[in-house]
């Protein structure tokens, strides 16, 4: 029973922040500066999600994540489809794991 209550609590506090913008956003007419901030969120969020997290995938070997990340960056510079970019970084990591 305790576990179920913990799960329900986790579910509630996770859903609330996700829900809040859905409830309130269309009640406001946003000024231009706020719209620019909104448009910038994906780039800012992805920057923060990528670094330094990518180095911590394997805490003993930060270079492993770095290698996967660099290959992903190189492949996306070639304008490859996102699935191929992912596959490239996954294969890089598997290959390095296999070699060392």
């Amino acid at each position: 029973m305790r576990i179920i209550l913990i799960i329900l609590g986790m579910a509630l506090v996770t859903y609330l922040p996700r829900l809040l913008p859905a409830l309130f956003m269309d009640r406001f007419q946003f000024p231009a500066w706020f719209k620019k901030w909104l448009k910038s969120i994906p780039y800012a969020a992805l920057g923060a999600l990528i670094f330094p997290g990518v180095l911590l995938v394997d805490r003993d070997q930060p270079l492993l994540g770095l290698a996967g990340g660099l290959v992903a960056a190189a492949l996306s510079f070639l304008n490859l489809h996102i699935t191929l970019v992912m596959a490239g970084s996954i294969l890089t990591v598997i290959l390095i794991q296999y070699l060392i």
Partner: protein, 230 residues
């Protein structure tokens, strides 16, 4: 060729996320088992919470004997970043019926947010409830089914594969970020600044707060950097 229905196009877009989630979810299910959660309790957590990192942390805290309030509070702070992401996703859902907005907001994760805001943006197709639902539910299915399998004891995924797939999800983020960052130095600067902020703040704050603060601050750079046409 007959035009693909938005829902199935969403499913196709969400497939890379689902494939990335699946082995990580198996690892989660297995860890939940070690923390003495039954397979359905672990699956229930994935069904109701659907936030990978916080689920791993929550279960690890259970293993170390943490209290309920402590676990729930940690979950809250760890997932607070979704508030910022939800702002961006809901900006795309402005014209959706309220019930759809409230429902689909449940499925906002780092990965679904990234694909919905920077992935396929075909006019008239991708900003529809059907497309978004297809993408989000595919990711959800990958996460929940993997958790169930892992909980049942299907530990056939070696840890090296989990590591590789985690890097794959970073590959997803990088692959989504690089093309727009190449086109616009403003976007590149925002992303680069956010990386720097997050790295520096990581020394003084826990990761949940560092990501939230870096995102809010770096996105503010967009106010002077981006042109009025944005």
């Amino acid at each position: 060729m007959k035009a693909e229905k938005p829902f199935f196009r969403g499913v196709r877009s969400g497939l890379p996320i689902a494939l990335g989630y699946f082995p990580i979810a198996i690892a989660f299910g297995a860890l939940a088992g070690q923390a003495h959660l039954s397979w359905w309790e672990g699956t229930l957590m994935s069904l109701l919470v659907f936030a990978g990192a916080s689920q791993f942390v929550g279960v690890s805290m259970l293993l170390s004997g943490a209290g309920a309030v402590q676990i729930i509070a940690t979950t809250f702070f760890l997932n607070l970043r979704h508030l910022i992401m939800s702002l961006a996703v809901n900006d795309q859902m402005r014209r959706f019926p309220a019930a759809w907005k409230n429902f689909l907001s449940f499925f906002i994760t780092d990965e679904t947010f990234a694909l919905l805001t920077l992935g396929d943006r075909t006019e008239g197709v991708t900003r529809t409830p059907a497309f978004m639902a297809g993408l989000m539910w595919t990711a959800y299915l990958g996460w929940v089914s993997g958790s169930a399998l892992g909980g049942i004891g299907a530990e056939f995924i070696p840890p090296q594969v989990t590591t590789a797939m985690t890097v794959g999800l970073y590959g997803l983020f990088i692959g989504l970020l690089v093309p727009p960052a190449r086109k616009s130095s403003g976007f590149a600067l925002i992303a680069g600044a956010s990386m720097l902020f997050n790295w520096a703040l990581g020394f003084v704050l826990d990761p949940g707060w560092a990501i939230v603060l870096s995102t809010v601050l770096a996105a503010a750079l967009g106010i002077p950097l981006l042109g009025e046409e944005m």
